[in-house]
Structure formats: structure tokens, C-alpha cells
Symmetry: C2
Amino acid sequence: MEQTEAEFLASYDPGKYPRPSVTADIVLFTVGPHGHLMVLLIRRGGHPFKDRWALPGGFVSAGKESVDQAAARELAEETGIQNAYLKQLYTFSDPGRDPRTHVISVAYTALIPYSRLKFAARDDAADAKLFRAIVNDGLLYLNHNDRIMFRGIDLGFDHNDIILTAIKRLQGRISYEPDAFELLEDKGRFTLYELQQIFEAIQDTELDTSNFRKMVRRNYVETGFIAETGERGKRNGYRPAALFCCTGQKGN
Amino acid sequence: MEQTEAEFLASYDPGKYPRPSVTADIVLFTVGPHGHLMVLLIRRGGHPFKDRWALPGGFVSAGKESVDQAAARELAEETGIQNAYLKQLYTFSDPGRDPRTHVISVAYTALIPYSRLKFAARDDAADAKLFRAIVNDGLLYLNHNDRIMFRGIDLGFDHNDIILTAIKRLQGRISYEPDAFELLEDKGRFTLYELQQIFEAIQDTELDTSNFRKMVRRNYVETGFIAETGERGKRNGYRPAALFCCTGQKGN
DNA sequence: CAAATAGTGTCTTTAAGACAGTATAAC
DNA sequence: GTTATACTGTCTTAAAGACACTATTTG
């Protein structure tokens, strides 16, 4: 006898085959006051990789949330950050990447301005710190206030690979996605030099001011993505810079 | 008493929390003899979405394989295609995207030359067919030999979204990844016009021959990614074209 | 005025596009 | 020669980079 779809679903047994676990892991980037690209790491309190540094993240609640929602929830639970700018990065699924069982990790990139993360810059935040991420010769190095320094391969799980993938993707996206603006302290009130510092941190290069500003005019001012506010920034004994704001237009 | 990692792992119970299922789904693209971008669809034999067209794919065997391996295995099982050029696309995880239970789909793009898929161009291949993929006004339409035609939203699951995402990504990647060369009938023996047709199919535009060839020289010949073989193609009553081959160099 | 940062102008190179043209095979 | 496809040259525009330059503020 032919089954209808409703009958099939009523009799469906979801427990027949073993399933992997699924986690959402978050590579949270910020640009620190020295113009460095930084990543948030959590010191693991329990096994596996107890006392090692690793990315924030956690298990997806099956049937209750998408992985996107799990990423936002876990980031809020572990760091208090709400409404983060989160983008899916890549899914890591080697059966041996977690020693407990087969855990598939859907990795996300989060971009948060530094001032929302100041707690993690202090040394008394024992379990969640910002580390400068340095890529040299294809290898990742992590550095907190020149006091804690280690190699990416000393992170828990395959988080070295995840962070390297995230940095490459961030660098690739910067020319066609509005990522850089998410790292500004105030999207409604910023100078072009502040924006340039974020581009420099992400691309890990120095940029020519004149050429950078030409690019900004072409890609963002002329498209209406940002606009001059008419105001000028703080006076520090020299010429104050013009302030711009994001308008919410599409841009590029 | 403090547990060691080994003790922790020995006592770890993987069944404590409900887990989602994970599938690998494959968007297999080819360029047909009329220069159209085509996608392989399978007619579903069982519930859910029985008798509807959907992407090939299947469940990941937990603990036994990565999702990459599952994608390659499922593609081989359902179509006989071995050693496909497979790239991870995106992970789709809405808890309601599969009516059975929470099924997270890691989607892949496969690029295969048309001659390896001729079986799916014939009408007697009842359960696996190639469809021309047409994007119009952001909407997807599928078309097999002008005989079977339907909208992407009539596909099973969220496969309309997956295919649209795959097409966008393919178009975005073409200028910096060697994807186009994977669609050539013979990477060791092709004319520049054959290559141009693949670019045109992916970008859904007509390209200027002169400008296209200038780009090929710059990006692929001068970098050593492809080279002239010295031979010439078939004579059809007119000037035969020079044959090129991929060299295995990095390119771009 | 000097100091310090903000901001511009110009020249060159490179890539992209439009478009007219020449070359070589079979017949 | 014609026909059909293969292939090139030139002009224009736009983007990217190097680098010298001017402008505006405080003190």
C-alpha cells in the first residue's frame, strides 16, 4: 500500500542512524587601539583541551534553532555580546577533530568594535581575552599584551585552521562587503583615517592616504553608502577631521 | 578529584543531548553543448517530497567520514561520478527545512564536463536529469529539453535557495578560481573559444573575443597556468583553432 | 611662526571594454 | 575567389598605485 507523505512523517524514526553533534564556533574579530587585528579566545574550563585557549562556541540545540541562531546565542552566553554582525564562514567536519565524538563545527565570523570588548583587553578577564592575530609565512601566532604568546597550532581542536580560514576570508571580502564599517567604533560618526586604520589592520599593509580616499569616494560616497555629516571631529591641537556616517544605502 | 582528559573521554556520554542529522547535498553544474549552465537533479523516489526533483545528496555517516567525503560518496552512489571537483558551498540549517526532523545540509558545488554526464541528458534517464538553470529577476527556473519546465521553488526542501546560492558563488569565483577549466571537456586539449563559452555560460553574458583573449593571456598564459600545445583542433571547412592545455601550475 | 594631522593633484601603470580589422583554413 | 571561424590592434575609460603637494587647526 502506498504511503502518503503525512503517514510517512508520522511513522518516521529519527533515531535509526548515529548522528554527529553540531557546534557553532565564532571567530570574533576586532581592531584594537594600536590598529591590530585581534581575535577573542576563551580559556577552556573543562575537558577536552582543558586550560587551553579556543574559540567561543557550543552545541546546536537540535530541532530548536538554526546554526546561525546557535552562534548568536552562544556568543551572547559566553561574552554578553548581543546583536553581533555574524557571517557563516565554513564547516569543519573531520571525524577526528574533537576527541569526544564526531563533532561538526559550523564556523562564523563576528565583527565587533573594540569598545564593546574592552572587558577582554584587561588582564583580570581570566577566561576571555583578545589576542592580536599575526600571520607570518602562513602560520598563525596569538599575542595578548606581549605577556601571553603562543602559536595557533597550540589552540584547542582545529581552531588554528578555522582562524586562518577566517582571516583569509575577511581579507578577501573587504573590497566588496561592508565588513570594515562593522569594526568602526561608531558607524554614525567616524573619520576617514579611522576607516583607513581598519582597512590596514585587515589587509596587514600600509595604505596611501590619497589613494585610499579616492577609493572611498568612488565606492562608498558616490554610491551613497556613507555621507559627510558636516561636523568635524575632536581638536587635538591640529586640524580636526571631517566626520562621516553610514547611511544604510546599499553601496558598492 | 580532578579528572584527566583521558578519564574524561572514557566516561563521555555522547547521547545526552538530541542531535540534528547532517546531510551533504551537491549542486552539480555542467555546461551543455548549447553553452547553457546546467544542474543535475534527481527525482525523489521516496518521502518526503516524493516524485519531486531535488539535489543529489544524503546523510553523513557519523564518526566514519567528513562531510566532504560524504559528498563525494553520495555523488558516486547516486550518479556514478568519481573524483568530482567538489567545493564546499554553504551550510543550510533552518530547523524546518526538512519535514522529518532537524536536518542540517552542508551544500557542495561539483563541476563536471558535459561528456561525463551524457546519461543525464537522455530522456530515458527517468530519475537523474540535467536541467538548464535560468535565473531571471532573482528567480530560478529549471528546464529539461523544453519538455520539463518548473520553478526553483517547486524543488524539494530549500534546494531553490541552495542552487541560487551556488550560481551566485560560481559567478563570483570565476575571476580568481580555476573553476571554468574544470568544465572543459578535456583540460589537456581545448580551444580558447571553448573556454570562452564556459565563461559566457557561467556569467550569463556574451563576451568580446578580443578582450576575453587578452584576459586569458594575462591571467593564465603569462602565469603558466595554461600553455599552447602547438597543435590545432579539428578542421570543419575553416581555420582550425590552436589547442591549449592546463599545465598544473598555480596561475593567477 | 612651527607642529601635526587633514586632505588634494598629478603622473603612470594596468585592466577592461568597444569596435574595426586581418589571417587562415576548406571549398 | 567565398565562407566561416580564428585571431589581432587600437582607442577609450576606469581603477590602482607612487609621490609630491596644499590646507587647517592649536599653541
